[in-house]
Symmetry: C2
């Protein structure tokens, strides 16, 4: 996907000793996020092994990190972990493609000590992986493999409902320490991090410009906002500061509803199949439009003839048959999929708008695994916000939309044996901005090609 | 249904000449709604012929009215018409049960001129009838039959989207004049009439008291309010005065969505079958509850373990099979029906609450054919309003919920050949209140039994 480009997607040589000693205060930042960037798809050695969610390179984080983070939701269990590039070649553990994926410019096998050591080679990458929560056994196996890879005990930061439900089991099976973190808090910490620290992460969607990046690293500007996290269900959180937030509402009509209903209405066996079905569908075969009722617009109150008056409103008619099989045969799976995707997305968009209006919020961030970068979903959510707010509010999306909670938990990591807890989230904003500015200047100076 | 009792459900003898000459100014009120009351189920001669929607008796309206009103929506076409009790025996037309239904105390066949002439016998009744919009042919046939009964041309007041879509066809086939009235305006006129003129029409719902009547005939108190009209889709109208209203929003997730999805997911062939299915269902077999995710409450943000986190969230799991038939076999139609009824009703309740909050409205009236007096639906809507508003807002229901628009159009009736348009809606509120008060006092004096 060429749209998934990064400002910093080419290898950069640099005088790392100078850089690390000069810019950073290593004692204050346990995880070094400076210069972090999203690894572009084209950089993966084998495109088939490119992860579903792009890695985030941490060029200045050279040591392994002693913790991983998990976020176990109702439908999906997510994991975030760091792996240094060099460790991939050093480990004896066969990691499989999920862990051992290589980058084209990862020349760690090059033993020469010249200046061609790439930025990617030097640091490491944050990895993102998810699996169905019902496959919790496989999830635990995955963590075991990761522990063998690290060849040491790791600490687990855990969030989401499953952090409570599966706590005892994970602790016993893995013999690890687990720190439970509040779900909403992790979402916010994760989102704040993505907004302020990761270039080309946040974007506006429109049909003509599907990924218009918004790089707002000035952290004083980001509040207040509404976070709409769409997983199995929907949570809406009003955020007015780094640790100042309240869950103002939600909806039970979320991803689980779309997946659940479509698994009873279509042959699709995966969420991606369902989304693919929707692409070719025509919802007007299933939905009752204003034009179907009026024969025309209902101009007096501004309803166009193409406005959906009733989702699935054309289905329940005598002419469609008195037995269920006849009725089912009248409607295509593609049309049904598209109608339901519209219905759920529109509904979330409307409720998000109403909550944003009540709380005086202009910016609405959509997170959660419901979206999956699917254009129709983002278009519908964007359209709903734009329609209801008359263009006054904006819908923001993220490339790591499904990992807000897990990244938040990762950032809150404070493994046993570490010193005082200080990662970048605990530094003052001005400290971080100052450091980032210097890193970026150095990276620009040091880049060998663009 | 004993709960459907009326203050005025027993026959009353009265000196009608005195009453009509003294109280009313006949020239000013073309349709005489004074003393109107809902005819109790027990008063119908043959309970099998009791209409789905109770008639409204107009004891002082002795002449036929020269117009009927229709409201053609996306799924249902409604009709409201007046029939004087005496005319039933005089007409040669075989009307069938819908029109010829008799009341136990309708002793119009009693030729004696004593004082036992009942109130019902003297006046007539507003009748309510509906049919699927797709059966528009039958609907037109019904109107033809009605015209033969009246034995004269009638004027048709028409509202709803179908008033536009089917205007030319109805006009040609029936050779009648049709006046189109705005849908939202008719809803408000109808609702205002039900609130202020019909005793025991509006009620609050709770499980312990399913029909707590609210008789608020003081019209100065009724504004402002939010009307939530749930038909195929949902319209929400903010009303601040008799002709001061604005459609503030709506939802495509309405009755058409529930009926449409359930007709693809269950064998039910009618909406009532679907509602009956839901009664015995257990939505927790289908929905993912907070407790399913957390193993417990999520107390920190006030979510109980029984809260629905994701409607249909339990359905899409690998363990439920990789083919659609296997998946379908895992879930009962009752559970599916109940889950979807909850999902749609909760969602409407939440959006209604948010709109009411934005517009500072305390009273929320639910109308439309979605509700149908179904306890679970009303309970869910009431619960949602109460939950979100923390008890500060009230959900009101109506016994003629599906006929707001058609009654509104009926009231706006101004048949050809009539004098200046003046029905009770055009009198000042104080005039009406004064007249009603006097009628009620006289009725109380004249009643022979309670």
């Amino acid at each position: 996907m060429s749209t998934f480009s990064s400002q910093l997607n080419t290898p950069i040589t640099l005088d790392s000793d100078t850089l690390s000693s000069k810019i950073l205060n290593p004692g204050a930042i346990q995880i070094n996020f400076n210069g972090a960037f999203i690894v572009d798809d084209v950089l993966y050695e084998d495109s088939d092994l490119a992860p579903e969610t792009n890695d985030i390179a941490l060029p200045f984080q050279t040591h392994e990190i002693s913790h991983i983070a998990i976020d176990i939701g109702g439908s999906l269990a997510k994991i975030v972990y760091f792996i240094s590039n060099k460790s991939i070649n050093n480990s004896q553990e066969d990691l499989g493609p999920q862990i051992s994926k290589k980058l084209i410019h990862d020349n760690s096998s090059d033993t020469s000590e010249d200046s061609s050591h790439s930025l990617i080679d030097q640091g490491g990458r944050l990895n993102f992986y998810k699996i169905e929560t019902e496959r919790i056994d496989d999830f635990i196996e995955f963590i075991k493999k990761l522990m063998r890879f690290y060849d040491k005990k790791i600490h687990i930061m855990a969030t989401g409902g499953g952090a409570h439900k599966f706590h005892d089991r994970i602790k016993e099976e893995l013999d690890v320490e687990i720190t439970k973190e509040d779900e909403m808090e992790c979402l916010i910490v994760g989102l704040d991090f993505f907004i302020t620290e990761i270039p080309n992460e946040v974007f506006l969607y429109s049909e003509t410009n599907p990924m218009q990046f918004v790089n707002d690293t000035n952290s004083s500007n980001i509040y207040p906002y509404l976070l709409v996290n769409i997983g199995s269900g929907v949570s809406m959180v009003k955020v007015t500061g780094p640790s100042d937030f309240v869950r103002v509402g939600g909806s039970s009509l979320g991803g689980g509803t779309l997946w659940g209903l479509l698994s009873l209405l279509t042959d699709a066996n995966s969420y991606d199949e369902m989304l693919n079905n929707a692409i070719d569908g025509d919802n007007s075969n299933v939905d009752m439009l204003v034009g179907d009722i009026y024969g025309t617009d209902y101009g007096k109150i501004g309803l166009k003839s193409t406005t959906i008056a009733s989702s699935f409103g054309k289905v329940f008619q005598k002419q469609n048959g008195s037995d269920i099989e006849t009725r089912r045969s009248k409607f295509s799976q593609a049309d049904i999929s598209r109608s339901l995707l519209y219905a759920i997305s529109n509904n979330i968009g409307q409720i998000a708008y109403l909550q944003a209006k009540i709380h005086g919020l202009e910016k609405i961030y959509f997170g959660g695994s419901y979206i999956r970068g699917h254009p129709q979903t983002m278009n519908t959510l964007s359209y709903a916000i734009n329609f209801w707010s008359e263009g006054k509010k904006n819908a923001y999306f993220l490339r790591h939309e499904g990992y807000l909670g897990s990244v938040g938990a990762f950032l809150k990591g404070q493994p046993m044996g570490w010193g005082k807890r200080k990662n970048s989230m605990n530094l003052s904003r001005s400290d971080i901005n100052e450091a980032m500015k210097e890193v970026k200047e150095r990276l620009t100076e040091l880049s060998v090609s663009q």
